[in-house]
């Protein structure tokens, strides 16, 4: 067994300013077993190979989402309880909650929003073209997902700006700086009890609660209505479950898709030959979406905590140990993907982990995210849009999301 002669630090945010540190992850993948990674406030086992991420992800009995936190750092017990939502719960609570909300996210329910999604994508792309290019994040990658999620949730359009602002503050909460005062938006809750330690979460709870009341009295054909009235075995979401979920969706449905769309433009601009292949043969579009998701790896890791003593890849893991699944490494594992550093829009099969390694927590919004990306590509193909990046993109300093803050994109034809 090879022991680690070096201790790579893959948690410093600055490491991600030029994108995923592929070299470092390749070195970690070459080590037998899992790599022990020191971390302030408690180290963790890093799983970097595709096979090991898969094992951990599918074994939610031994690897818990409810203990400690699903991010690298631990939360205090009361904070964990107050903030608990789908993503950081275990069976049987998770199963119950997931069943109720899944009903709103079935392919049929999501497909009903296809035209709405297309209209939003068309509007943003037309703007981008009319301006002769510009910041792709600001003009396309950010507005498309947030407008889609707000529309399908049924948030009145006059409140859209407020919610965009709130969700941007949450995005900020994944980085290291917070620009809001603790009592912003009338918040009186201790910040550590709020998701992302952000007063914007308080505002989202309040807003979610308000719109719930409105829809209870006046049900509509939207996601909020479906969430309120969805029943499994006669049970509905409690008010606080609903509020936590509302907040989770506004974040999860927004930042991640934005990141995928940002990287899609960057990848296509950097690989004009691949883009030409897709223009010539649009029937490749489904595999193109998957490859762009692999390439973007918007969420770079999720954490689990061992509920019992366990073993992965020959490494003994003690009950209570943190285990971190690095999707940003697994998605480029040469044992699974031939030439992982090459963008191949026809790659198939493409068992990437952009939506997690599979199992009970697999991304609830995957169908929606795939539909949004596909529609965006279809509309780009229709416009025969050829892009090139001007200067350097500005990346979010984060070890968690492969975020892009801005990228100046030019139309080359």
């Amino acid at each position: 067994m090879t022991t680690v002669a070096f201790v790579p630090d893959v948690t410093t945010s600055d490491l991600y300013l030029d994108g995923i540190p592929h070299e470092t992850f390749a070195q970690m993948r070459a080590v037998d077993g899992l790599v022990w990674h020191p971390y302030e406030g408690g180290g963790f086992w890093a799983a970097t190979r595709h096979a090991d991420v898969l094992t951990i992800s599918k074994d939610s009995e031994r690897f818990s989402s409810a203990i400690g936190h699903t991010n690298l750092w631990d939360l205090e017990a009361d904070a964990l309880e107050a903030r608990r939502s789908l993503i950081d719960s275990d069976a049987p609570e998770h199963t119950r909650l997931r069943r109720v909300v899944s009903k709103a996210f079935t392919p049929k329910n999501i497909r009903a929003w296809e035209e709405v999604t297309r209209n939003i994508a068309v509007r943003c792309l037309d703007d981008f073209v009319a301006q002769g290019g510009g910041d792709w994040v600001d003009l396309v990658a950010a507005p498309v997902p947030i407008n889609v999620i707000l529309t399908i949730m049924g948030v009145p359009l006059e409140d859209a700006d407020l919610l965009v602002e709130l969700s941007n503050y949450l995005v900020e909460g994944t980085g290291e700086t917070q620009s809001l005062a603790p009592d912003a938006f009338g918040n009186t809750t201790e910040l550590r009890l709020l998701p992302f330690n952000s007063p914007a979460s308080h505002a989202l709870f309040e807003y979610g609660g308000k719109i719930r009341e409105v829809r209870e009295a006046d049900p509509k054909e939207d996601l909020v209505t479906r969430l309120i009235f969805a029943e499994i075995d006669g049970e509905r979401l409690t008010k606080s479950e609903y509020q936590n979920f509302f907040q989770l969706v506004v974040f999860a449905g927004n930042e991640t898709t934005r990141t995928a769309m940002s990287h899609a433009a960057m990848a296509l601009a950097a690989n004009p030959h691949q883009w030409q292949r897709l223009l010539d043969d649009p029937s490749m579009i489904d595999s193109a979406v998957e490859e762009l998701l692999r390439w973007a790896s918007p969420v770079m890791h999720m954490r689990r905590t061992a509920a019992v003593d366990a073993e992965v890849a020959g490494t003994a893991i003690a009950k209570g140990d943190k285990v971190v699944m690095w999707y940003s490494s697994a998605n480029f594992d040469e044992a699974v993907f031939a030439d992982p550093q090459i963008l191949d829009l026809s790659r198939d099969p493409n068992p990437h982990f952009a939506f997690g390694g599979g199992g009970s927590h697999y991304c609830l919004g995957a169908f929606l995210a795939r539909m949004e990306l596909k529609i965006l590509l279809e509309e780009m193909i229709r416009r025969d849009l050829r892009l090139s990046v001007v200067g350097e993109p500005v990346r979010a300093p984060s070890n968690f999301v492969q975020g892009v803050l801005s990228v100046d994109v030019e139309i080359t034809k």
Partner: protein
């Protein structure tokens, strides 16, 4: 797609798949790949194969490998026996 050694010994034909209700997360990768054959139920948010449909074995196997929750397995194969059926028969004979 011949990564399934269990499948290799079987004659190619049409197959039906079965979905493990406890494992399915209802996001519908299967419905996306095979909209004519797979459907996530509106009330339960659990996928199943539409009554009366079959898929060529190769495409059925693709579903097995693509399902993010390992919820799909091959059920009956036309003109052949699944290992499951064989096991069942063996068990009954014993």
């Amino acid at each position: 797609m011949t990564n399934d050694t269990k499948g290799e010994s079987l004659e190619p034909g049409n197959a039906r798949v079965v979905v493990d209700q406890d494992k399915c997360v209802g996001v519908g990768k299967c419905e996306m790949l095979e909209p004519e054959a797979m459907e996530v139920d509106e009330d339960t948010a659990i996928a199943s194969m539409i009554e009366g449909t079959v898929l060529p074995l190769e495409r059925a196997q693709k579903l097995v490998t693509e399902c993010p929750s390992s919820a799909i397995s091959i059920g009956d194969i036309e003109g052949s026996q699944t290992s499951q059926n064989v096991e069942q028969q063996n068990a009954e004979e014993r």
